[in-house]
Amino acid sequence: MTTHLQSQPDAQASAPVHALEVRGLVKHYPGVKALDGVDLVVHQNEVLGLAGENGAGKSTLLKALVGLVRPDAGEIWVRGEKVRLRSVVEAADHGIGMVFQEQSLVPNLTAAENIVLGSEGAGVRRGLYRWDTMRKLAQEQLDKIGSQIDPLARTDTLTFAERQMVEIAKVLRIEERTSHPPVIILDEPTSVLESAEIETLFTQVRRLREFASVIFVSHRLDEVLDVCDRVLVLRGGQSVGEVSTASAAPAELHRMMIGSTGSEDHYHDTAAERSDQPLQPRLVVKGLSGATFRDVDLDVHAGEIVGIVGVHGSGREDVCRALFGAEPIEAGEVTLDGDKLDLSGTRAACAAGVGYVPAERKIEGMVGPMSVADNMTLTKQKSRCSGPLVMPQKQATLVDKWIERLSIRTPHRGTAIQRLSGGNQQKVVLARWLVAGDIRLLLLDHPTRGLDIGARSEVYRLMRELANSGVATVLLADSLEEAIGMSDRIIVMSDGRATAEVGCPSGAKPTPLDLVKEMV
């Protein structure tokens, strides 16, 4: 593969044809505009960074580039030729390949089989494997990236970092399909890697640049700035600007990512109504440790909203689940209003007045085909029962009261919850913890994920009301902006540890940048 090394990076000067160009890409999902006219250009032998908050449209854009999402409008040009990508295979035929965020290898096959999967070529003759050829084909790919992995090792015996090398080797197979230099997309490649492994990956990315173009996506801005030549920023499904990494600072990039901060009113910040906090915090967490987090200390007063922020892999989701007894812990003590909180299972947490709103609403938060009323009374069965029997009249009265109080827009309490809009579904999920009136601590894991802006605002208002009524809240926000807007205090987590605490009182809010400084 030495021929690749001879191609010069300054090819743009002679040929203005871009390796990849996207013009005005649009993609609608019901209720959401994921892509709203994205433009993007990737030059030959360049590493382009893609930055943007959750929901900025990054993953939709990437999926469109490998044929997994069909855009509603817009054009994709590959080396000056307009293309329509309808499948991963078609994308590969045009030389575009992606290393997926969730590693996409078949765990029970060998590395060699994974590398040539779907394009075995000479490795299979008349349906029969020729293991020698297969190993050789795979070895060629592994040699391109200088990897020492044994091609015949079973994939699930490899480490994460090794598997990622296998994925890159696999993606480079597309070179066999086209005579042009490939475009390789790396979607959040560092999220599962340790820092030393990340350095190895960066070496690989720089090596790839010698003969390919790379699109590099990461949550970590320092990484993006480190490894990329240029960074394109997405916000709200649009390209809002690009910077050359030679001159840019994380601050500038971050300002572009979040844009102008929304009005404070959006978060219904009504600090004035809050009474003074009692001296004793409601929730006290000491030295909580689990599989993905270590020695986490945390306290939350009644009426307080404490946000936990951190990049992907910081362990904050697992802390949240552990406090609900849904994740095993190894050490640590948790007390609620002075009483020890039993974390052996979720039943104990429910009984103690802890509520949890999971991030995956459709999978973990609700039973789709069941009615609004049944979903709302799912946990606090006593609220609708008399002895062992369900009392339909009791349930109806209670549910109707909460439908009105939270202004849940549903045709009827008997409507299946899956027919409601996301925001109204989320309100029913929240109401589940309120019907019994014994809620003391609310754990919110991305409570506004997938909601449009109006529905978000309503969820924010509800959170405020609950806090003002004395509920202690732990919030894992969808964005830094949301964390700052809603929280009274923010804990920063990184690599499983709580690394900083930032005060976030009404009127003296920190900027997202202050938090980013603590996060990286």
């Binding site: 590969a92 996409s104 029969l128 480490t159 090794e162 090398m165």
Partner: protein
């Protein structure tokens, strides 16, 4: 930890899923269990530890081994196959009417066997097609195809039992080579062919991969459906051969030739270490499972356990084996259906 990727990755990793190396307990468990049970029975019962009895065990395992070969490929994909009784019944009646018999003048010999196996393969293909075209879960399609097979068998049966007079087919069950019946050697051949398919054919490797991560295959541009149909077809062919073998043993074609073999084969495969969720195990695992089940049945008889107890005891062993296999994967709030 030894990482072949060079000095760059030589770092101390915090706790996270560590790669497994060497032979896992799950792979080594069933052979060890087989050896232990065998030795145990041999110690207790003098009747068990004779050469003659070992031959009996091998001969008794033959039909189940062939059925299990077929079902293993289906289980490796994460599907399930309950069609063995019907497919075996259809093949049994078909072959008994095609070779020399008391019902008609046919005397097709080996060709009759081939046609019966092809009929069975067609029934298997039907299961696969219903699965991929109608998107009906394999549990239901194969149950339906089993009923279709029994229906075909009943129609062919026509009220009078076909007794076979074909010397070749009857000889399979009677004549011996190196102390084992021909049927047993056929079973060995099936296991060998199954193993070769599993290791050296795209069909076998893809069946394995479908059970491991089907969506990854799709992302790699592999069309999965034809392989699924082919696996069910292959399984059908194995059941058909098993039906022929039963006919050889009985010297007669019976609609009920395959009765009970569906669950017996699933049991053997699971006990041998093939997961019902797919992606793990294989033909050799299943072969060990077949021997385990057969040794157990034979041993329980030899030590004088009442046959009335045996069904229950075998059931308990299956549940225990499955529970042991899933222990490493248990987690809190796991949903089991």
């Amino acid at each position: 930890m030894t990482s072949p990727a060079g000095a760059d990755t030589e770092v101390v990793l915090p706790p996270r899923p560590q790669p497994r190396r060497g032979v896992s307990l799950r792979d080594a468990g069933p052979p060890i269990a087989l050896a232990v049970i065998f030795l145990l029975f041999a110690l207790i019962s003098p009747g068990f530890r004779t050469i003659g009895n070992v031959q009996n065990i091998m001969d008794a395992a033959a039909v189940l081994a062939v059925v299990t070969c077929g079902i293993t490929f289906v289980l490796m994909m994460g599907s399930i196959d309950l069609s063995a009784p019907g497919v075996m019944g259809a093949a049994a009646i078909a072959v008994s009417l095609l070779v020399a018999n008391n019902r008609n003048g046919n005397d097709w010999g080996l060709l009759g066997v081939l046609v019966a196996v092809l009929l069975a393969a067609a029934l298997g293909c039907l299961s696969g097609l219903a699965l991929v075209l109608l998107k009906v879960p394999s549990f239901m399609t194969t149950l339906g195809v089993s009923a279709v097979g029994l229906g075909v068998a009943t129609l062919l049966f026509g009220g009078v039992q076909p007794n076979i007079s074909d010397e070749m087919l009857r000889g399979w069950a009677i004549e011996r080579f190196l102390g084992l019946a021909y049927l047993t050697w056929i079973a060995f051949g099936c296991v060998l062919i199954g193993w070769l398919i599993q290791c050296y054919s795209r069909l076998g490797r893809y069946a394995f991969a479908i059970g491991g991560a089907e969506e990854v295959l799709a992302l790699s541009g592999v069309k999965v459906a034809p392989y699924k149909v082919a696996v069910f077809t292959l399984a059908g062919a194995f059941y058909g051969l098993a039906g022929v073998m039963v006919t050889s043993q009985l010297s007669a074609g019976l609609v009920q030739a395959g009765k009970g073999y569906d669950f017996a084969a699933i049991t053997a495969a699971v006990v041998g270490g093939t997961l019902l969720t797919g992606g793990r195990g294989g033909i050799l695992h299943s072969a060990v499972g077949v021997l385990l089940v057969t040794v157990l049945t034979n041993g329980l008889v030899q030590v004088g356990v009442s046959p009335y107890w045996q069904g229950g005891v075998q059931g308990l062993i299956v549940v225990a084996a499955v529970a042991a296999a899933v222990i490493p994967q248990r987690r809190r709030n796991q949903v089991t259906k």
